[in-house]
């Protein structure tokens, strides 16, 4: 008897799932064709985009920052709980947008996203088979188009242009894209002229005791490479590795001219560097060439790797080679916060941002 009940149950379950699986194939495609356009995204996928996009979900903080700079009113949520530093420079209006998860696309609750009914989903990430298949999976689950943007800093301008097309605001997109392109070009041209023996030796101090770093060639530290700095960390592991451990002895051998560090709020080592006996003979410490990376609203230097780093590029260049990258940083910062973050900085706020991050 019990056997029969069981087999019936199993058969029912299997039948049910297959019936549903098959039935599903013919749905979801009856959208009015005149209301949408087709666009090839940065992964080479053809994506249909509704003509009018009012709500966008970005499955990750990189894209969310881009979206925030373009048009914050179209956001339906953040990817994590906003921190105090972010809240300071982001209009109150957006503080209460929900945290939908999605640091690296995981932890997204698809039903919650569907409830908020975005017109389209963007996914700004590095493009590879893993991320493409994830986008496709998400597309299938949500029944919404997922448009992929490349997270590469060199492609930020085209990411903006695509976003402009999606949001129907190509004028603004073009303006921001140009800003990125020009900054990149200006940096490249000027950095190319720096001779190897003139390069400033920079160490990027990460972590609670400053003995984690990112080697030259890692994207986390690519700003140093881009502005023509000499990242002292020639750690054997090449490629996009993160937070390599180094020893204090190794650091003494490298003897960097300049150190950039996480701020204390982020769990960094900045305030300790001058107190630490072991560090006192490092050239950068002796010359007091130790700087905090500005972190508000978004980090200027690495994580998340979005447009926030474009301002970081100017700051970094100006900090290491003031005679080459002759920016008026106060003005640049004000302009960037206004153009990108919709925030008019006061002089005091500029000073606060740069407190430990520039030569006074």
């Amino acid at each position: 008897m019990i056997k029969k009940v069981f087999s019936i149950l199993i058969v029912l379950l299997i039948l049910f799932s297959f019936a549903v699986g098959c039935a599903q194939k013919d749905t979801g495609k009856n959208v009015n064709m005149s209301n949408q356009i087709s666009l090839t995204d940065m992964a080479g996928r053809t994506v249909t985009i509704p003509n009018e996009v009012k709500k966008v979900f970005s499955a990750g903080p990189e894209g969310t920052i881009l979206l925030y700079t373009m048009d914050p009113d179209k956001m339906i949520g953040w990817n994590y709980e906003l921190r105090e530093g972010e809240k300071r420079f982001i209009s109150k209006k957006y503080h209460n947008l929900p945290n939908l998860g999605g640091v690296n696309m995981e932890s997204i609750n698809v039903e919650e996203v569907l409830r908020l009914a975005p017109d389209i989903v963007i996914m700004m990430t590095s493009i590879d088979d893993t991320s493409i298949s994830k986008a496709e999976q998400m597309e299938k689950k949500l029944g919404k188009s997922v448009f992929m943007l490349d997270v590469d800093i060199n492609k930020l301008d085209s990411a903006y242009r695509f976003l402009g097309k999606i949001l129907n605001n190509e004028k603004k997109a073009e303006y921001l894209a140009n800003y990125c392109r020009e900054t990149m070009n200006y940096t490249k041209v000027n950095a190319a002229g720096i001779k190897d023996d003139k390069k400033v030796k920079v160490y990027y101090a990460e972590g609670p005791i400053g003995l984690q770093t990112e080697p030259s060639g890692a994207w986390h530290a690519e700003l140093i490479d881009m502005v023509g700095g000499n990242n002292v960390a020639k750690v054997t592991l090449k490629g996009g590795k993160g937070k390599s451990e180094v020893s204090i002895e190794q650091l003494l051998t490298w003897n960097p001219d300049l150190i950039i560090s996480w701020d204390d709020e982020r769990g960094g080592f900045y305030s300790q560097i001058f107190k630490e006996q072991a560090w006192k003979d490092i050239k950068a410490v002796r010359n007091r060439e130790v700087y905090e990376i500005p972190n508000k609203p978004f980090n200027w230097f690495d994580r998340p790797p979005s447009v926030n780093r474009i301002l970081g590029l100017k700051w970094m260049g100006n900090l290491i080679y003031p005679e080459i990258f002759k920016y008026n940083m106060d003005e640049e910062i004000k302009k960037f916060y206004s153009d990108f973050y919709h925030y008019e900085l006061s002089n005091d706020e500029v000073e606060e941002l740069l407190k430990n991050s520039t030569r006074h």
């Binding site: 008897m1 549903v20 932890s107 609750n109 039903e111 919650e112 893993t130 689950k141 996009g240």
Partner: protein
């Protein structure tokens, strides 16, 4: 009396199955839910937006089926291993299947493979892990059961180290979090495609164990007694290993590592119906399904963001296990 427990569990699972269709962040009324579900069988006019179909059939259905299959698989694998190894602290991972799968998945993520290949890698390396354990332990002359356990632990920890190595080498921006998340276990990205992928290995594992379940009692006795009572312990042991491995590897390959369920559910089931596999095996399977289904329903409805399932199962699992141990000590 014991069959009574089974009937109750079947009904309970059915009820949870239906209720969990109604649970989620996207609000769907019960009336609408019933209508939508019946529309697949009966000709009912579609009056609801397309998105409701998506929620029910693309998001909830795959997860519900996956929770049922995986819950049943992991707890069944646990309960048969506990008998075979005559040790109630044994879990389905004992022969290195999860560690192997975790390594396979990490490797595939590291190599930027797509989701299908990641699953296939996880599945195959799960099998490889157990095969390694098995063939090495055949070389150990002493007691094969103890050999399996020791070699299993060694193989498991070797694969775990390899996984750590890959995590160390992986890009911190997207690879590492993907690996970490995978290792925590989740049903959030499961599609109907994945269900089809695991249905076959889970069936191949579950059905023989279900058929042979009474003999598992004899297998749980002292090996010499079992043999002289007429049970070929070598053959049955191999069947148990193959079946459990198929089920566990398949589950882990689409859900990541979901801990504790294979340890706690068998204990709980044994407390309810006793050790006789005739009733114990189906009880464990049903209870495992129900348990995972309930937990996953919480995971996907409690907050706006998904909590990784593996975290919750261990968070609930370990104290619950302590409770069970204390309770059975007293009893």
């Amino acid at each position: 009396m014991k069959n009574c427990v089974l009937y109750i569990l079947i009904i309970l699972l059915l009820v949870i199955f239906l209720i969990s269709f109604g649970i989620g962040r996207y609000p769907i009324s019960i009336a609408l839910l019933v209508k939508v579900l019946f529309s697949k069988i009966l000709p009912i006019q579609v009056t609801w937006p397309e998105v409701v179909n998506t929620v029910i059939f693309q998001i909830r259905l795959p997860r519900i089926i996956a929770a049922i299959l995986i819950g049943a698989s992991l707890s069944t694998a646990g309960v048969v291993y506990q008998g075979m190894f005559k040790n109630t602290l044994v879990s389905p991972d004992i022969l290195g299947v999860s560690a192997g799968s975790a390594f396979g998945a990490s490797l595939a993520i590291f190599l930027s493979f797509n989701m299908v290949k990641i699953q296939i890698f996880a599945f195959i390396f799960g099998l490889v892990g157990v095969a390694l354990t098995y063939f090495v332990s055949l070389k150990v002359k002493e007691n094969i059961t103890i050999g399996l356990v020791i070699i299993g632990v060694l193989v498991g920890s070797t694969f775990s180290s390899l996984t750590s190595l890959i995590k160390y080498l992986a890009d911190t921006n997207d690879k590492l979090p993907t690996i970490t998340f995978w290792l925590m276990g989740s049903l959030s990205s499961i599609t109907l495609q994945d269900i089809k992928f695991i249905l076959m290995p889970i069936g191949l594992g579950m059905i023989p164990l279900y058929i042979l379940r009474w003999r598992l009692n004899v297998l749980s006795l002292n090996e010499e007694e079992a043999k002289t009572m007429g049970l070929d312990t070598f053959v049955l042991g191999n069947i148990v290993i193959i079946c459990s491995t198929l089920m566990t590897a398949a589950s882990v390959s689409i859900s990541g590592v979901i801990g504790w369920i294979g340890l706690v559910i068998p204990h709980l089931s044994r407390m309810i119906v006793g050790p006789n596999y005739k009733v114990l095996l189906p009880t464990t399977a049903l209870l495992g399904s129900a348990y995972l289904l309930i937990i996953d329903s919480f995971v996907r409805s409690l907050v706006e963001v998904e909590i990784p399932l593996g975290i919750l199962t261990s968070l609930i699992g370990s104290p619950f296990f302590i409770f069970l141990l204390l309770k059975s000590r007293r009893g």
